[in-house]
Amino acid sequence: MTTGTSRIRRRSALFAVAGVLAARGALATPDSAKEWLAGLAKGTPKDGKVTLKAPEIAENGNAVPLTVAVESEMSEKSYVKALYIAADGNPNPPVAIYEFTPMSGKAEVSMRVRLAQTQKLIAVAEMNDGTLYAASREVKVTIGGCGG
């Protein structure tokens, strides 16, 4: 009796789902996080020196504690100039940029971040001589934290 309309309805529902998926795909790409980082830190980062501390599983994506530390003596000769932090599964991948001076004493920072879904946090440190170091860490998110 209502098969026709229900089919149409079902189809439009499918389209709606597909549309949402496509929009999500367009928003959250690990590549856009990489692009943002590459635009800031020119060169190929090495492994090491950078540590990310975050919970393995975050029940609430609205405020996930994150600490990023970079090994450095933080002297006039050798210090961390900048630290770029990205989240590769958020609608907007940038999280924060820190610009240090030797007066920072220690390149270790803590913050609370919003994570829309399970994803990887990436940190790239730029030393004063231009060397780059990077590290990443996956955080599983139970309830996403990006409004909606």
């Binding site: 609205n62 991948p93 820190y98 001076t101 920072s104 270790e108 920072v109």
Partner: protein, 109 residues
């Protein structure tokens, strides 16, 4: 609303010369990320605190650029090396170029 926005600091009052002290800051701010919809389904425009600048005796210590991925009431903790007594100054700025400042004295012995 902006009257509710208040910075809070936790900074040690005393330190030894050359000590690296931990500084904890928080500013009560909704950090509207521009993705959220209101009750009528309209997008709430982005309004976040986008920067924090920290100086010690007017010399730059740290600059932070905050993005919408920073949680509401941004809490930021970091370190400062103190060689002499002085004043740590903090300045937060939001997307409307409104700013809030706070300061804390450190006695170095």
């Amino acid at each position: 609303m902006s009257d509710d926005i208040k910075p809070r600091l936790r900074v040690p009052a005393t330190a030894k010369k050359g000590e690296v002290i931990e500084v904890k800051t928080l500013i009560t701010h909704p950090m509207e990320n521009g993705q959220r919809k209101d009750a009528d389904g309209k997008l709430v425009p982005r309004l976040i605190v986008n920067s924090l600048a920290v100086t010690y005796n007017d010399k730059p210590v740290l600059g932070v650029t905050l993005e919408p991925a920073i949680a509401a009431n941004p809490y930021l903790a970091f370190f400062v090396k103190v060689e002499e007594s002085g004043t740590l100054r903090f300045k937060w700025t939001d997307d409307n170029m409104q700013s809030w400042t706070a300061e804390s004295k450190v006695e170095v012995s």
